[in-house]
Structure formats: C-alpha cells, structure tokens
Assembly symmetry: C2
Homo-oligomer: 202 residues x 2
Amino acid sequence: MCLIMESDEHNSDGDVLAPPFNFSMVEDGIYRSGFPRPDNFTFLKTLNLRSIIYLCPEPYPEENLKFLEANNIKLFQFGIEGKTDPPTPMPKDTILDALKVLVDVRNHPILIHCNRGKHRTGCLVGCLRKVQSWCLSSVLEEYQKNAGIKWRQMDLNFIEAFDTVSLRKCLLSIMYRYHGKRRRLAYEEENVQTPKPQAAKV
Amino acid sequence: MCLIMESDEHNSDGDVLAPPFNFSMVEDGIYRSGFPRPDNFTFLKTLNLRSIIYLCPEPYPEENLKFLEANNIKLFQFGIEGKTDPPTPMPKDTILDALKVLVDVRNHPILIHCNRGKHRTGCLVGCLRKVQSWCLSSVLEEYQKNAGIKWRQMDLNFIEAFDTVSLRKCLLSIMYRYHGKRRRLAYEEENVQTPKPQAAKV
C-alpha cells in the first residue's frame, strides 16, 4: 500500500482512512481483517486488491459486491460456520482449499476476512505460517494477538494438528516450475489433476 | 519476505523459523517486534533487512551487533526510557526523529523494536499511521492489539496528540520530488535546511 497518502492524489478531501476492524498485514500482498464495511472502502482502494478470501457462509452484501466489481476484485468464498452450538471443528479441507488460493501469487494483493477476523481468518493465517515453517509458539502467539480475549483452544488445537509436510511440497510444485535456473509461476488447475511423471507438476 | 521457504534453499535443515516475540508486518518493507534474540536470527535473515530502529537506551547486545554487521544491517538507536517511576511521557522529538528514519525508503526493509514491542514501538507505529491518515480509532486499535493487557492510556494520549499536519508535508518534500511525471527519491539532510525552489534535490 502507499506509505503516505498525498493530498493531491488519492485523498484530496483530506479524509482520514478507516481500515476494516482488526486489520493487519500478513505478508507482502496478503492482508487480514474483520468484515469490511462501506466506510472502509476508501482505505481498501489503497491496497489495490486483486482478490478477497471470504470465510463465512452468508451471502456477500450487495454493496460489497458492487465495490468489488467496480475495482475488479475477485471474490473467493469458503463458507465456514462461525460460532456453533455445540462447537464444530474448523473444516480442514475447506481451509486447505482456501490456502491454495491464498498462496497463489496471481491472486495477490489479497485480503482474507471473516466476520471479526479472529477465528476463521486466524486459523487460515495460522496454517499459512506453518507452511512458512514458523515455529508453533510464534504461530499461536500471532493467532492470540489477533483474537484477543476471544481466542479459542479449539482453534489452537486445529492449527497445531494441521499437517503441512506433504502440503508444502505440493504447493511449491503447484506454484512454481523451474526452467533451468529461472523460476516462474506455472500453475494450471487442470494440470493438477493429470500430473505427468518426470515433468514438474502443475 | 519469502512467502514459502524452500527446503533446498534457505532452510536446508528443515529448521522451523522463530520470529521475534510480538512480530508483525506494518507495511511493505516495515516490520515491528519485541527484542530479537539469537534464535530469531535465522528468521530475520529472511526479511533481508537493511536497517533496524532500536528504541531503548541500553547498549545493543554484542551478539546482535555481530548479526547486524554480518548481514550489513544499519542500526538506528533512539534511546527512549521504558517504564519509569513516576511515568514520563513519550519524548515527542525523539519519536519524530525515528519517524524520519522510518519513512525514508532507502532504509527499508526496516525492523522497529524496543523490548516487548508494545509501548515505544507502538507509539512510533501509531504516529506513522497518523502520517498515513489512518483514522484515530484504527490507530489506537492497532496499538492495543499489539500491547495487549499492557496498553497504557498515556501512550494513547501521546498518539492522539501527536501533530502530523505539518509533518506530512515536510516528509513528503523530504522523501520525494517530482521530475515531470517521474517520481524519485531525493532526500538529502542538508538540502532540507536549504531548499532550492524549482530545483530537484538529491
């Protein structure tokens, strides 16, 4: 995002910018937050988003859809239930699917959000950190910082149990292909299902 | 930072990476954390840091200095006292000096840290957010998320009172100068004091 807004550029009215609730930057090109409201749209424009990962089952609000359309932002929805009674565990396969979208740099800059940016978003980011080889204590610390007093033991257990060993290799082969010393993105969804032996898979 | 560590590249032992306590990304090229310990050095290398802003008055530990030297990282120290009795307010001029280093993109990627990454670091990042035109509630929310239960009302007051109106213009003129449509970095400390009208400075 632009480090400093210039008064003659994006912010001509001297407006203040309102990031969504619980906003923060995860990585270059990856952001997380709570549910963006219309008064966050001016701020969101400064991120030049290409995609949004939305982790709730509820339909996306009409005004948010309009904002996405106007700014050419692609929506990836993965419907994960919020608080349920009795509590249900985070769906591993859905998180895995979301992770595949998240690490595909062609979708960056990307914003992950659920409702409060705490549990569902926190679990997805936690799994990303494991893929990145962060040690578990740092992964859980980050989860807890963003969840505050609302942190859930069940989420910590989910993140800890999430298996990334095979996933990491899979993701790397999905994301990149080597041509001699040159590394380039070579992801094609259809090729994932028909891997060719000896050839780098995509 | 590298989104995914490759097993044959940086992380050949399959080591996990340990970010410093209370680590997070602030902006492209700007990170914040608590005090980095030697077991965080492998992680810090992945950030390709050019500089560190250190906000404590205590001398920098010998092993940290060695890490900086080995990785060609410049240290900017601004000695701000931690918890004092009676409490002393955050020194505005020191924060201002640190802010000037922080926004100079020639120092990026840059890590800001104090001891716990909560109060001194939180105030500096809070002032940066004001320079970026973030609305006050979002600035304070971010401060509190990183300070947790240790948040201090005095810090919130400091961030709120910190004046950025004149500073923003000053920083922009320091950082950039336009040559026709091309924007380029044109910072020179001495020139700030003797600006020449119409001339681009370097």
